[in-house]
């Protein structure tokens, strides 16, 4: 059996889910129904968490610590390549998020920044099998 596919969230998507946004809840409900697991690239935590009590709303929508996907050397290298090729020097976190999702075949990446993410995704290898969708 192949491993389950992932619904990967960027910081906009994770924050919206934590705030109870109905569209995000619909995405996650649909993913769950279709047996897709949530995946949170580790850099998303840096953009989302503050170390303050309000973080509890974010933590409660992350199923388990292992739902957070570590950033490896290969992901870092691919993110750098994407950022350079897409001419998006300030999109480091977005590039890391996309490069993480790209390691998970068949995953869907939900983003609050479809413009940057689409520009970065255009530089992915043609064999990459992920879909990028906007949360709005």
């Amino acid at each position: 059996m192949a491993r389950l596919k992932r619904l990967v969230l960027d910081s906009g998507a994770l924050s919206a889910l934590a705030a109870g946004d109905p569209r995000m809840r619909a995405w996650v409900a649909m993913a769950t129904k279709r047996q897709m697991l949530l995946g949170i690239p580790a850099p998303v935590l840096a953009e989302t968490l503050t170390g303050q009590p309000a973080d509890a709303a974010v933590h409660r929508v992350i199923p388990a610590p292992s739902s957070v996907i570590d950033t490896t050397r290969d992901i870092g290298r691919e993110a750098g390549r994407l950022r350079y090729r897409a001419k998006r020097p300030d999109a480091t976190i977005d590039a890391l998020v996309l490069a993480t999702a790209a390691t998970l075949p068949g995953s869907i990446l939900l983003t609050g920044d479809i413009a940057d993410m689409t520009a970065l995704a255009a530089e992915l290898a043609p064999t990459t099998t992920i879909e990028v969708r906007s949360i709005s």
Binding site: R25, A29, T32, R60, V61, P63
Partner: protein, 69 residues
């Protein structure tokens, strides 16, 4: 990489046989781990629904349409 921990559980024999058949040789732990994550995710969906109410049907329909083929 998540840290793995071994522990003992008891499953109905027929259930375990079915899992082995679906998961494939040597992948029962991975299958059970993913099944557990899905259950945790279901719990989050249910908790958010209790707090914020059900997702409006028109939004659910819109997301279903936007779902990749």
């Amino acid at each position: 990489m998540a840290i793995k921990e071994k522990f003992s559980v008891s499953l109905d024999r027929d259930v375990l046989a079915s899992i082995r058949k679906i998961a494939g040789a040597g992948r029962v732990s991975e299958w059970l781990n993913e099944a557990a994550l899905l259950r945790l995710q279901e719990g989050i969906v249910a908790e958010l629904e209790r707090e914020y109410g059900p997702v409006p049907p028109e939004i659910a329909a819109e997301i279903e349409t936007a779902w990749p083929a």
